[in-house]
């Protein structure tokens, strides 16, 4: 397509800068505190890639998705879409929402039970001024593209469809306004494994045919690996590692990423892990640990980790990790020496 491409292929499609979202909670005795759901994250989404986002529940994945979609307003930070600030005069929110769409996890809850499938899909275009008749035509065309025969499914209601069929409708609905970026928030997590595979392949086909860019959020590492070009790992509202998918799987730098990877169920029963690499729940995002937020569960934690906060540090091509062990001269016993880094750079 490329018709709306402004900065060329090298220009990131979406640039996220110091995005922060804190939710206020009322504590006991009226003491006010905040949940640091997303606490200053920076990342880019390149044109045409699939960025996988992984992490435990409560790490801020879904809040990030909702912030990217601007369903909730961020407290501070900035979203830059193809060099235009989101919400600025160049790219008002309404126009941004035509370019970014989202598929939710719950396929049933995300379809209005009183609308037929074609009406649900046609809603987006009609909001943006496409005539009713044309919107419905487009809806039927899209239902066909996601593998649902329009003559059979256009007039159906959500409760008459299976989970996989409903999620296909949700994908069609997201595509109806012709977006460039699609955020898939656990979009296949609730589906049967066989159906999940079909929907994943559909997503891959659609991406190629329509020149889409995906942000794919999931807790299923196998699925993320299958779909993603790059993977971003989140822990307690922060990014701990981001890098190309294969490299991240082959040479994870952050201890948390390594723990996540080793917790993946192996496809080979002889390689199964008997020990859980991560014990306990993540600490509360209301009162996150000082320094490196992972130090309370990290096998390599040292005194310095509770004091000094690691920043994302380049460890390979497009591969960043936020750990004192990869940061030269950070004070951790395993930190690389400064000399080594100079050579690398």
């Amino acid at each position: 397509m490329g018709k709306r491409d402004i900065g060329g292929p090298a220009q990131p499609l979406l640039k996220v800068e110091q995005l922060v979202k804190h939710f206020p909670v009322k504590g006991v005795l009226g003491k006010r505190s905040v949940v640091r759901a997303v606490d200053g994250i920076d990342f880019v989404v390149h044109k045409g890639e699939t960025l996988g986002v992984v992490g435990e529940s409560g790490c801020g994945k879904s809040t990030t998705a909702r912030l990217l979609m601007q369903l909730i307003a961020h407290d501070s930070g900035e979203l830059v879409f193809d060099a235009m600030t989101v919400g600025g005069h160049q790219l008002p929110l309404r126009d941004y929402r035509r370019q970014v769409q989202m598929v939710f996890q719950d396929s049933y809850s995300s379809l209005n039970p009183r609308l037929t499938m074609e009406q649900s899909v046609a809603f987006g275009p009609s909001v943006h001024g496409v005539s009713q008749r044309e919107s419905l035509e487009r809806a039927r065309d899209l239902l066909g593209r996601v593998g649902l025969e329009p003559t059979r499914f256009a007039g159906r209601y959500a409760h008459e469809l299976s989970g996989g069929q409903r999620q296909r409708v949700n994908i069609a609905r997201a595509l109806a306004v012709d977006p460039r970026l699609v955020i898939l928030d656990e979009a296949v997590s609730a589906l049967d494994k066989s159906v999940e595979a079909q929907v994943l392949n559909l997503l891959l086909d659609l991406k190629d045919n329509l020149n889409l860019t995906y942000v794919f959020i999931s807790h299923d590492l196998h699925v993320v690996r299958y779909l993603s070009d790059r993977i971003m790992v989140m822990y307690l509202g922060e990014i701990v590692e981001v890098g190309p998918a294969e490299e991240l799987f082959a040479a994870a730098q952050h201890p948390y990423t390594r723990a996540l990877l080793s917790s993946m169920p192996s496809m080979d029963p002889s390689h199964r892990t008997l020990m859980s690499p991560l014990t306990g729940d993540p600490p509360s995002p209301i009162d996150p640990p000082s320094g490196c937020r992972f130090h309370t569960r990290c096998p390599h934690a040292e005194a310095i980790c509770a004091q000094r906060k690691p920043n994302l540090h380049l460890t390979g091509e497009e591969h960043y990790a936020a750990c004192l062990m990869v940061e030269p001269g950070a004070g951790h016993s395993q930190s690389p020496s400064g000399v080594l880094l100079l050579k690398e750079a």
Partner: protein
Amino acid sequence: MNLSILRPAAPAVTPIESSPGYWSEVFGRVRRDPVALLVAAVILALILMAILGPSILPGDPFTTSMFKRLKPIGTQGFLLGTDELGRDLLSRLMLGARLSLFMGITPVIFAFFIGGAIGVIAGYAGGWINSLIMRTVDVFYAFPSVLLAIAFSGALGAGVNNALISLTLVFVPQVARIAESVTTQVRNRDYIEAARASGAGPWTIIRTQVLGNVLGPIFVFTTGLISVSMILASGLSFLGLGVSPPEPEWGLMLNTLRTAIYTQPLVSALPGAMIFITSISFNVLADRLRSAMAIRS
């Protein structure tokens, strides 16, 4: 807007299969429910009676006669007897359906629109707007309906119009609360988020996505209020705050006939029986509608 990927397909030859809509399914279920059909028939008959009114009366509801006072049921020429002024009770009951139904239904219709709008807006807006609206509503809700109706009517003065206004004011907070709670539930569904993500404004979302899902429950609740409204209206008339004599209205008739309860107990109970039949019919209809709508919602 450029939507080149979405080239309209060639005109479909096969017709689109469509499922019955939600409301046609609900009415299909009501049609198969004998109790619902029975009470609907009763209500229809009452409404028909009210509409046809004077043209079908067997006697004159206003002619008094001191010699024919308090005749029993089945007296020649007076099928249901006469009241304390010798007027034909059957005619008065039939004509009374007009005012009684009017007083029962009108405030509820007003409250449906006013309270529904307040509740949907409060529920969809959420946050401090919701708190402001709903706490204001709660102030009125805290009073018992009867007291509130009497207070408003007393302040506004007797008369049918003032009774209608005070009854509407009594029901608006009740409808608003129901509307607010269903809207709040619907608002948190993902399809509302998806609609917002499509770039639709709040009014568009309320119109196209919210109303279809909340009007049903609000409608059922207000249908149930019709009986309450009739009873309250009768009560106001009974106290002399609603309809004034000689207009026939069931509550007022019940009031004036009450003095004859020892001489003609059956006759004096008839207006009360009409109130009972009408209000229970509306109540049962609301209940049956609720269960017909409850399935998969």
